[in-house]
Subunit: 227 residues, 2 copies
């Protein structure tokens, strides 16, 4: 099914491997478009524009720039929360938290082609998201993190594994992911890892993203890192 | 043109006559769905859900309730800023400020049927909105207001008249509008008046909205009030 979609199941699963989120605070005044370009150079396979403060007009302009960058590198580009901005700037997808639009309502507006990701911390949330037409899940917080103040208590690799085993949707692990623990997430069943501050706050974003990408690829080939 | 639209030009112009915006602060803890029902009972012909703070999931639920209420009374229902919420909750339209999605981008996403309103304070902004496919303009602030902190200096009935004379789009006057000055706005060329605090903060919302509606209808029939 969905033979007409740009991001079929296999391509989507691959795109979730190294999933980088923008974060204005972690950017520390540097241009996000430059940071995303660096992350793509470092091997990011997906980029999510996440900004709860910018007005939609700015978000739309930035989203258009990031959509072009990602398309040129074959990376998945997703906008957090704002389905309208995602559609207007030509993003590949939207990512919806539990306080954002219900996935079913978003699917009804967006049609079948848009990739819809949903944040899920439990098997119940995962099942609801799948029923509503989600394409992938963001599961966490796996480890403690300071980037998302509203992230709740970490669910650990065990919680991640519980959700991943409960669903047929590909899962990207989020929350405190770094090169050193990416293997744990993958062996718990994640298709990939999402990083905010670990990549975007780095002084050398490309190098740090490459470290994360290497760790993910190693774990996919060999099983988890000994660390 | 737009023969397939629910809100053709004549129906839209009529719907702009008594245009009530929700405002959580002015609601002072009362349920907005009750206040909107009261405003409709008082003769509101259009309702705008304006809330910059609620998460999209809450906005969507409230929007669905308000869309049903408005449809039952034949009133126009518009969501501020969030085109995605407007589409998902079955609103008739979206209202876009100068910091929101560009009207052209919104039109491309929404298609021809959705009513698109745009805030314009000058003839240049009005012309840009018309070129981008807007259906009506919200013009102000006409008078001083404390509801919108970002509203800028009042343009007065003269500024309203300049914008209204410059455009073929119907204009709803906004900012400090009350029953006492609605006639001034209509004689300056507005098709109707928008009110936030003047209606929603009233102790008796239905009565206050009826006062505004009476003032608007009087001015439309007789010209401006002597006051």
């Amino acid at each position: 099914m969905h033979a007409d979609r740009k991001w079929g199941p296999a391509a989507l699963r691959r795109a979730l491997q190294v999933y980088v989120l923008t974060d204005r605070a972690s950017a520390r005044g540097r241009l996000e478009v430059d940071l995303v370009a660096a992350a793509l150079a470092g091997g990011a396979t997906a980029v999510q524009l996440r900004d709860k403060e910018r007005p939609a007009r700015e978000l739309h302009a930035l989203g258009r720039a990031l959509a072009d960058l990602c398309a040129a590198r074959g990376a998945l580009f997703v906008v957090n929360d704002r389905l309208d901005v995602a559609l207007a700037c030509g993003a590949d997808g939207v990512h919806l938290g539990q306080d954002d639009l219900p996935a079913g309502a978003a699917r009804a507006v967006a049609g079948p082609a848009l990739v819809i990701g949903v944040s899920a911390a439990t098997p119940d949330e995962a099942a609801a998201a799948a029923d509503a037409g989600a394409d992938y899940l963001g599961v966490g917080s796996v480890f403690a993190t300071r980037t998302k103040a509203d992230a709740g208590a970490p669910i650990g690799p065990e919680g991640l594994s519980r959700v991943a085993r409960s669903t047929g949707l590909p899962v990207v692990a989020i929350g405190g992911l770094r090169p050193e623990n990416a293997g744990l997430a993958l062996s718990a069943g994640a298709a990939g890892v999402a990083a905010i501050s670990a990549v975007i706050s780095a002084t050398d974003v490309a190098a740090e993203c490459a470290r994360l990408a290497l760790s993910v690829r190693r774990a996919l080939v060999q099983g988890p890192d000994p660390a």
